[in-house]
């Protein structure tokens, strides 16, 4: 069974199709780099997979189930543009809250472990609003990976991250990959994404114009993909 099956998905804003006939199958354990220019539809597609939005036509199946089902949402982790944390709560309180929402057996313990993992163990009782930007980002990464999701959706994860946060994120992504989890990253940062990716999909004006394995050529010549498939 595929980790993710996107079948015939269209998304309309009024009569304007932001996504057209998107078809994509992602096997479990792959790391997919979702590429495309601004406005191509990457964020729209990710939001639909995350269950934040419904497709106008077509279906999304994650490990065989619908995206909006509660059991499915428990298996998905998301890291978007906002950090999705409460400023007035402490680091440990934030992660414990999300642990409860995701039905973890011992949320507080797990939250503590995750804080250690992202290097925030010493400031666990600090309020999120007191943290520096990099610390907030690391906390956000902790939140996304907290419930050990089987499918991770990362929307431009490397933008606006400081060096330490990038290092933490990269190591956690590698860990997830080793454990056979599926990762989907939309990105502009071709270099970092292509290094981690096993597969690549290029979205252009709402359509998938190329989907396949990540080749060495793509890694050597990062502009190749856009030149070959871009702008027709």
């Amino acid at each position: 069974m595929n980790a993710l099956e996107i079948a015939g998905v269209w998304k309309y804003y009024g009569d304007f199709p932001a996504l057209r006939e998107v078809r994509l199958n992602i096997a479990p354990g792959s790391t997919l780099a979702l590429l495309g220019r601004n406005g191509a539809g990457k964020t729209t597609l990710l939001r639909i997979v995350a269950g934040l939005s419904r497709p106008s036509r077509g279906s999304i199946r994650i490990h065989g189930s619908e995206a909006r089902e509660q059991a499915t949402r428990r298996r998905i982790g998301i890291l978007g543009h906002g950090i999705a944390l409460y400023d007035e709560l402490s680091a440990i309180e934030n992660l414990t809250l999300f642990g409860r929402l995701y039905g973890l057996p011992d949320p507080r313990k797990r939250a503590g472990e995750m804080l250690e993992r992202v290097g925030l163990g010493r400031v666990r009782d600090g309020l999120a609003r007191e943290f520096s930007r990099g610390m907030r980002q690391r906390l956000a990464v902790g939140r996304a990976f907290l419930h050990d999701p089987e499918v991770l959706l990362l929307d431009e994860p490397f933008t606006a991250l400081d060096d330490r946060a990038i290092a933490v994120l990269q190591s956690m992504i590698k860990e997830m990959r080793e454990r056979g989890r599926t990762i989907i990253m939309s990105t502009h940062q071709l270099r970092e994404a292509l290094e981690l990716a096993s597969h690549v999909a290029l979205l252009q004006r709402g359509q998938i114009v190329h989907a396949g394995e990540r080749t060495q050529q793509m890694l050597d010549d990062t502009g190749w993909l856009y030149r070959t498939y871009g702008d027709n």
């Binding site: 934040l52 419904r54 929402l101």
Partner: protein, 222 residues
Amino acid sequence: MFLRQVWTIAAKDLHSELRTKEAWNASIAFSVVILLLFSFAFDPSSEQIQEFSGGLLWMTYAFAGALVLNRSFAREVQNDCLDALIASPVSSAALFVGKALANFAMLYAVELVSLPVFVLFYNVPWKAAQLWPMLLVLALGTWALTVIGTLFSALTVNLKLRELMLPTLVYPMMIPALISAMTITTNVLAGNPAGFGMRFLVAFDIIFTLLAMVFVDTVLVG
């Protein structure tokens, strides 16, 4: 499962609110100030006050309550928390009920604090037997305000002109419940039976709670 999620959401909202106390302070202050202002506007001689005591009280509660209700979903927009909540396994209905319960608790607390202020400033003749009916009508009326306010907070959360659209939509919707609550309160304070209004209010509460639980998902998930 549903109840556990409701409880987690309600606890989070109350916890956040107790930390900052923004809405609480504003609401209490506003409510006391309005009661004071109204007492200057209307001379509270005891016979006349009986007639519009209910109206006065609920006007105060509706305006002070708006301060709490408007923030309900708006507080989630900062940092994109709303997306994280919708994407989590929590159902939209549980998210709504959790927030509504937290709002209800806060509003009810504000009302209980303002009620003695009202009785004091307006020389309302008070008998002990009125307490339970009073608490009941406060609960029923407040629940109506809460359900409508919370639902529309969700609906307007991403709109431009949110500050304009929210009161425009919410206040007319609340009016039938407000009027019922006002009439019942006036009756209770005068020592009369509550009347038809009680049945109407209960029915209103049930219908709007069900409608809100059904439609909140449509509103939150695009």
